[in-house]
């Protein structure tokens, strides 16, 4: 049986076929407005190139930037009733308080604050005001809203009120989709609430997008189930994405780094993904991208998703090379994907980083004659500058002085030198479609992140065990094979400035996907 990975980017839709650990074929197609035809084209091409039979495809894994782009471009977002349970806590900071004004208006600015919530140790902060929920339900009907997000203070400690309000709203407002914050984010009310609201606003787009993927598979006559990758490099069943589209945010860089790990078999390395305009650099640790520790900004909104710690520089295959006096500047301006028409080696009249790579003998692309007239001194200085830029960003991403290898992936990776300082550069086969490979090999995860009260005989150790059991349960429910699960993140942080005994624990486990039902 085969696995097919598809990466639906802003410009290209890439596809690969994997048999076990072997990449049988990798292709590129253009992303289309309707999504379906681009995916269909990529699928047909990769099936043809690999020569596999359609009924031998076990599963299709799709990575997409569609939902991130919707928020960034403020498109396809619905209005949302944003309900917070926690008064009197947070009265001064209403839902969406730190959103950009335009985005707040796009989701309708329907913020509600209601009495409810829990304390860190599970005590009730305020009893839930059910009459107020009924009143809000009336407003939701009157306004004709189709989506709501419910966020309860310390829902990570106790989710009863979020569950209760969801049940009430669904009863009162037929057809209303209700998102509970506990399913979306982690500790930190404002960021979790913002993520839940964004998720609710993307539900109808998620339905349409998942339907478009399904339609492409149907037209390609593929009956295998399909999965979508999330920001941590693991999978959700397609139907789960209909409920949790925000969990796909930033899956692109994750997939390319995971793909790089797979293509090389390396678990500790620096990955440089060189595109047309930028290069993304990040570190692999235990085969997974190292996570960013700061809050992540999506379309101007603070969220607390775990995102890979990726650093971007304005250096890609299409970067403009400009000589000003003694200095040579490369990027950040770029001809982007038009490099295949506008670069000198392709008969164009723009000096790009790709031309320098060809002139210096690093790459053999297009027609060498196009760069025959370049001054050797200019080429040498431009090469030195590129090397310096790569060295800089690789150096920033290293986590120790141990000499880890550098993996070069992406269409523009011909720009990379063979060594970066003391580090060896490895160029895997199929480097151009690493993100589709990353999607194809994605695993299934389960995660717990909440505050545990160390009372009634619960110790730090037993709380950690409890958190791990919860995370394993979630992973198995999502389709993971129990005996393949391993813990990849485990952290506990005592709550400072309190003499009491409470600790915040974060545990993540990942495992192989169970054999999908044929």
């Amino acid at each position: 049986m085969y696995r097919v990975g598809i990466d639906v980017g802003g410009t290209n839709t890439d596809a690969v076929v994997l048999e076990g650990k072997r990449v049988l074929a990798g292709v590129k197609a253009s992303t289309t407005e309707d999504v379906t035809s681009g995916v269909l084209e990529a699928l047909e091409k990769v099936i043809a190139a690999s020569g596999i039979a359609r009924d031998e495809i076990a599963a299709i894994m799709i990575g997409t930037t569609h939902f991130t782009n919707a928020v960034i471009e403020r498109r396809h977002m619905d209005e949302v009733a944003a309900i917070r349970l926690g008064l009197p806590s947070g009265a001064g900071l209403p839902p969406m308080v730190d959103w950009p004004e335009d985005l707040r208006q796009i989701v309708g600015n329907h913020g509600y604050q209601v009495k409810g919530g829990f304390e860190f140790d599970g005590r009730i902060l305020s009893p839930l005001d059910e009459d107020e929920i009924l009143r809000i339900a009336g407003e939701i009907r009157a306004k004709g809203l189709n989506a709501a997000a419910v966020t309860c203070v310390f829902s990570g400690v106790n989710d009863a009120m979020e569950v209760r309000v969801k049940e009430m709203l669904e009863g009162e407002c037929p057809g209303l989709r209700v998102v509970m914050s506990k399913d979306i984010g982690r500790h930190g009310l404002l960021a979790r609430e913002s993520a839940a609201i964004m998720n609710a606003s993307l539900l109808s787009l998620a339905d349409r997008t998942v339907a478009a993927f399904g339609e492409a598979l149907k037209r390609a006559k593929i009956a295998a189930p399909f999965y979508i990758t999330q920001n941590d490099g693991t999978l959700m069943a397609a139907d789960v994405v209909r409920d949790y589209p925000v969990l796909t945010f930033a899956s692109g860089p994750t997939n390319s780094m995971r793909g790089a790990a797979f293509l090389t078999g390396l678990k500790e390395a620096i990955v440089v993904d060189v595109g047309g305009t930028t290069s993304d650099v990040g570190a692999l640790s235990m085969g997974f991208p190292r996570q960013a520790s700061t809050t992540v900004d999506i379309g101007g909104v603070r969220t607390n998703f775990r995102m890979p710690d990726v650093f971007s520089i304005g250096l890609g295959g299409g970067s403009l090379v400009v000589e000003t006096g003694d200095a040579v500047t490369i990027g950040p301006k770029s001809v982007g994907y038009r490099v295949s028409r506008e670069a000198l080696v392709f008969g164009g009249d723009v000096l790009t980083a790709t031309d320098i790579a060809v002139a210096s003998g690093r790459a053999e692309i297009g027609d060498r004659a196009g760069v025959a007239g370049l001054a050797p001194d200019l080429v040498a200085r431009a090469v030195a500058r590129m090397t310096e830029m790569f060295e800089d960003c690789v150096e920033r991403s290293r986590v120790s002085s141990a000499p880890v290898p550098v993996i070069a992936v992406g269409g523009g990776s011909v720009l990379m030198p063979d060594r970066i300082g003391e580090l060896e550069v490895i160029r895997p086969e199929n480097f151009g479609v690493a993100n589709a490979v990353g999607a194809a090999i994605a695993q299934i995860s389960g995660e717990t992140d909440r505050v545990f009260s160390l009372i009634d005989g619960r110790t730090r150790e037993s709380a950690l065990a409890e958190a791990e059991a919860e995370a394993r349960e979630k992973a198995i429910a999502a389709g993971a094979l129990a005996d393949t699960l391993e813990v990849i993140e485990r952290e506990d942080m005592p709550l400072a400035y309190l003499p009491g005994n409470a600790t915040r624990i974060h545990v993540k486990v990942v495992g192989e996907m169970g054999t999908p039902n044929a």
């Binding site: 900071l93 304390e119 404002l190 986590v399 120790s400 942080m493 400035y497």
Partner: protein, 376 residues
Amino acid sequence: MPETNVHFDTANLRTLTPGDLDALEIGAGILGCGGGGNPYQGKLLTLEAMKAGYQMTLLATDDIAPEARCMSVGGIGAPVVGTERIREGREGLRCLRAMEEYTGQPIDAVVCEEIGGANSMNPLVTAGLAGLPVLDCDGMGRAFPEMQMTTFSIYGHSSTPSVMCDLHGNVVVFQHAVSEVFHERMARACVVAQGGGAMLATAPMAASYVQRYAIPKSYTQALELGEAVIAARRNQDDPIEAVCKSQGGRRLFTGKITDLKRHLRGGFAVGEVSLGGFGANQGEAAEIAIQNEFLIFRREGRVEVTVPDLIVVLDVDTGYPITTEVLRYGQRVAVLALPAPALLRTPQALEVVGPQAFGYPEIVFDPLPAATVGAA
């Protein structure tokens, strides 16, 4: 705000703008020395109050009459609880009103207990809602973990009677504590009952006392630090240099976090962070001891800077401060030292905020050289 005030000339008030709050957020984070909590939510609360028409004003300590009554206010509790269970917003104002009622006398100005971290914003909201100014000073010049570590307490002011208000509406008055340490201990127990976070206002002080014993110009300093970072980022200059230049700081070390140990001791996050140098510090190793804040900086095992001098950890690229809670393996940081204000360096102060007070009896406070003290 009344046009005339018997205690100060309203012409001397500096009204803060939303842009000032952005600078204050960064500057207060820097002065937090890794602790004090994140000022972000406090900034949002202050901004919302501004939008609702309240004015946040600063007044230099010299510009208020010596007999004016000043009350310091600050948050108490676990910052991690505060990011989930957000304050209601008027806790500080309720403290102020309760204090006026308990003492039978009005409060004329609000004082900041701790400029470092989240407590920089709390007095602004309290004073703004009450129509009072905040004095440009504070009780720590940085962040410290415990209440008795303010210069107000160190130089003899008794912090009781104090008032503690939570978001539920509970009002607790501590009529009298036999010592500042006792007060801290009781308040700490109370805040757990209140759900892990509350606002606490300490006994009013005469402005003459504040003029003598508060750390002067703390808000100005925090604003300048923040503005330096913002300007450096805008002009693509090195923000670390800008911070040092702004307040006479010294760049100690540039490196990556190579190890991180944390555990809990008596309600405080205690730990140690190890750094491996790069750039100018290539090949060197350093450690910082943590007790909510960064306390002791060692280079190659040798103590170089200690509390109460300020040890600040910034993101090497952005210049943004990094708190001890978000430290992570592999982060690239710059470590700076800023000289502690003179009021924290006296023998009397060092008994409370020197290395011994934090459990390092073997370390003697060796102040940063005077040459780097104070901005021009």
